[in-house]
Amino acid sequence: MSDSQQPSDFEPVDVFAETDGMDLRPGSDDCYKCSTCDTNCPVAEVDDDFPGPKFQGPEQWRLKRKDDYDIDDSITDCSNCLRCDTSCPSEVPLSQMHNTARSQYVDNQMSKLSVEYIRNRILSNYRTSAYLASLFPRTATFVMNFGPVRWVMEKGLGIPSERDFPEFATTTFRQWWKQRGGAQVQNPDKRVAYFHGCYSNYNTPEVAKALVHVYEELGYEIMVPEQKCSGTPMFANGMLSDARRHAETNVESLTAAIEDGADIIASCTSCSLALRQEYPELFDIDGIEDVSNHTYDALEYLRIYEDLEAELEGAKVDFPDLAYHAPCHSRNQGLDGQALELIENIDGVMAEDVGDSCSGISGTYGWKTEHYEVSMEIGEEMFEHMEHAEGDVGMTECPTCAMQMEHGTGYEIKHPLEVLEAALVSEE
């Protein structure tokens, strides 16, 4: 052993000198190259140019120690589904590595004038676009899907013309909430703060309303604190400073809600994952651990604190049979089985699992021309399973998975909370 290899010489190095100082190298060292992550990566399975998560994570971090090593641009081909993160038996922090590397790549290696950069910023700031669109929802839905406009988007921005833009609701959830006069139940002992996220506010308020109805039926007081985007699309596009700004607002208002005795619930599994896992992995903001520790998925919360089986006993519902897809981000939180277990308890509705493949859209990933085909190829297995399933209506917790399911099969897609609403809440 040469002197330089003596353990006593060990000096922690800051791998990405410019970052907030998280040294992930110990995480790299935990990798024993079992390749379990690679066998789980849906992109590596269909895209020969993608070197896979073992490379994106631990190996890239090791390489990064050399000054002359740039982040490999394949990082932009990772969809951020986090399947690799879920599978690693050795606790290598793959998601944290990907997110940080991606942000490095965008900050240092991507031209801020490039079409990709501009497009990625627009896509990842979905909340802003959605806000603008919601001011004229019908026009926006029409214009966004209007042929000539789509042609310009495809050619000019790299947004695939095959995709249909989601419809914008004529009344957003927050408008509805305000109109009904906020919470209808007051209960200092059972209080939750609802993180509805952008999508159920602007596009699918029926999901958010279902949550409100179910929780109020079970006696909860609901708070709807001020909130911005959870940050998920920003992490996936390496826009960490944008994400941080949004996170600061969210953490501030959610910590206030926690102080008022509330736990935080989310109906979108990417939002709950962001608050629980990605926030503390990426940012150091006062109260961020507290937010992480008080956040739950909305169904998970009821399963822990209510006797749903007893509540659902004897419930009769009229609901179509469902083809269920568990989103990758629910898998990552260990929630992939919960919707089916819940529905087993409800008479009159059947849900069938359409397999454990990734839907392929992964948020903004499938919204980029250069990834559209990979995204559809990944989704193919799910589409096939959906078509073989009994039900002709789909179900999932994730809004972008829902888009992909609808896009690939033409099915209408429901959220498990809507089934629960049908079973528990009597018509007004």
């Binding site: 379990t36 990566c41 599978s87 038996p89 919960q338």
Partner: protein
């Protein structure tokens, strides 16, 4: 409230799955919670019962006979010979056509990717045409980008064991110019879907292209073996088409990690759990335990930072060994992290291993000791908890890599622990 069931199985490898089935068959409502994916994805997909005795004798011809002779304390001895039978029967039921070997009590000899011959009790149907004990001139085909399998070397090694037939090996380029480090799932996906690939200036379906490339080398060989990447969801179809085009039987050679046969097996067994109605929650570890009067009252799962209680009457610990993280060690000692069960080990760290890599290391046998009801026992041989059983590679007292008994012990002890637990509720 807690998430409540009759039997809670902790760990989702072969042992946990077998335990869940065992308990379910006793009529219990069963939940299996597993943190990460199991070592099945890394294992070859071969189900070894006992290939060599603890003294190193072998290859063992009849594993059942040899198991009956094992010393006290070995997991097979703890569970009993009937449990071994029951565990393997359960495996046969669950895997059906997918696995071969149930026609005999004797070990089969399966060629491995290094060209060695491995005694094993059950092997994937995809490997069946290649077993070394059957006669037939054999061609091994390797891909130049897949350095883990050197076909000519494997052929030479197999020939050197004295098999009474011709063995040859050839390395070809996999059609379609894949990247050098293409993932095994990439090959499987291409073959599953029979995607078009570019070859010699035109495109053709990958199965056709592959068969064309092998054909030049195929003549005269009755069996042609490929590394185990021949499809995932449509593996049978892929093999049948290749066999048809090549006019020979086609088989897969089990590979090192990551292993498609292991992946397929994991998928099949989870599908089976789903079919019979075992509830499965994966992605979160169990991190803590609450006890009342020597019994486990509930355990605590860590849901991304939130503590979530799981309650049952009976619990089964199947968290794996040193690789699966069911047994952990630090400078102070060796321990079982969930329930802190007793793990006997020499106090001095330098006694944990011997000097040579292949010596008889103490650490290879580290694990939880159990009584004959498979309950973990403390230093005074008393059960740690009345309602806790342990199964699989979390158990001590055996050295699976050298005995070649990994999967067998997991199935036998898992199924037995499941039956015992299910019977108590």
């Amino acid at each position: 409230m807690a998430i409540e069931d009759d039997v809670l199985v902790i760990g989702g490898g072969l042992a946990g799955i077998a335990a869940a089935v065992g308990a379910h068959e006793q009529g219990a409502r069963v939940r299996l919670v597993s943190h990460k994916q199991s070592t099945m994805r890394q294992a070859s997909g071969l189900i070894d019962l006992l290939g060599y005795t603890p003294d190193g004798d072998g290859p063992v011809v009849d594993p059942f006979e040899a198991i009956a002779e094992l010393p006290e304390g070995h997991p097979y001895e703890r569970a009993g010979l009937d449990a071994v039978r029951a565990g393997i029967d359960m495996f046969d039921d669950a895997t059906g056509e997918m696995y071969a070997g149930s026609h005999t009590d004797k070990n089969a000899l399966v060629p491995t990717h290094g060209g060695a011959i491995k005694p094993t009790a059950r092997y994937p149907d995809s490997a069946a045409p290649g077993i070394a004990s059957a006669n037939g001139d054999t061609l091994f085909v390797g891909f130049d980008s897949m350095i883990e399998f050197d076909a000519p070397v494997a052929a030479d090694h197999l020939a050197a064991t004295g098999v009474p037939y011709e063995t040859d090996g050839v390395t070809i380029e996999f059609p379609g110019n894949l990247r050098d480090d293409a993932k095994v799932t990439r090959f499987a996906h291409l073959l599953d879907r029979d995607d078009e690939v570019a070859v010699d200036g035109t495109t053709m379906p990958v199965r056709t292209a592959l068969a064309e490339r092998v054909k030049e080398h195929a003549d005269g060989h009755e069996r042609i073996g490929f590394p185990a990447v021949l499809g995932d969801d449509h593996a049978t179809e892929v093999r049948a088409e290749l066999a048809d085009r090549l006019g020979a039987s086609v088989f897969e050679v089990p590979m090192g990690p990551p292993s498609l046969p292991g992946l397929r097996l994991e998928d099949r067994l989870y599908e089976y759990l789903h079919e019979i109605g075992v509830r499965v929650s994966t992605g979160n570890p169990i991190v803590d335990v609450e006890q009342v009067n020597g019994e486990i009252d509930r355990v605590v799962g860590d849901h991304t930072g939130r503590e979530v209680p799981y309650k049952a009457q009976q619990y089964i610990l199947a968290t794996g060994g040193l690789v699966g993280k069911g047994i952990d060690s630090d400078r102070e000692g060796v321990y079982e992290p969930v329930f802190n069960c007793h793990v006997p080990h020499p106090a001095d760290r330098y006694d944990w291993f011997e000097d040579g890599a292949f010596d008889d290391h103490e650490f290879a046998r580290f694990g939880v000791p159990v009584d004959t009801e498979l309950r973990p026992i403390d230093a005074d041989d008393a059960p740690e908890y009345e309602n806790l059983r342990a199964a699989g590679s979390v158990l001590g007292g055996y050295d699976f890599p050298s005995e070649k008994s990994g999967s067998g012990v997991s199935l036998a002890t898992g199924y037995a622990a499941g039956e015992l637990a299910g019977d108590r509720v």
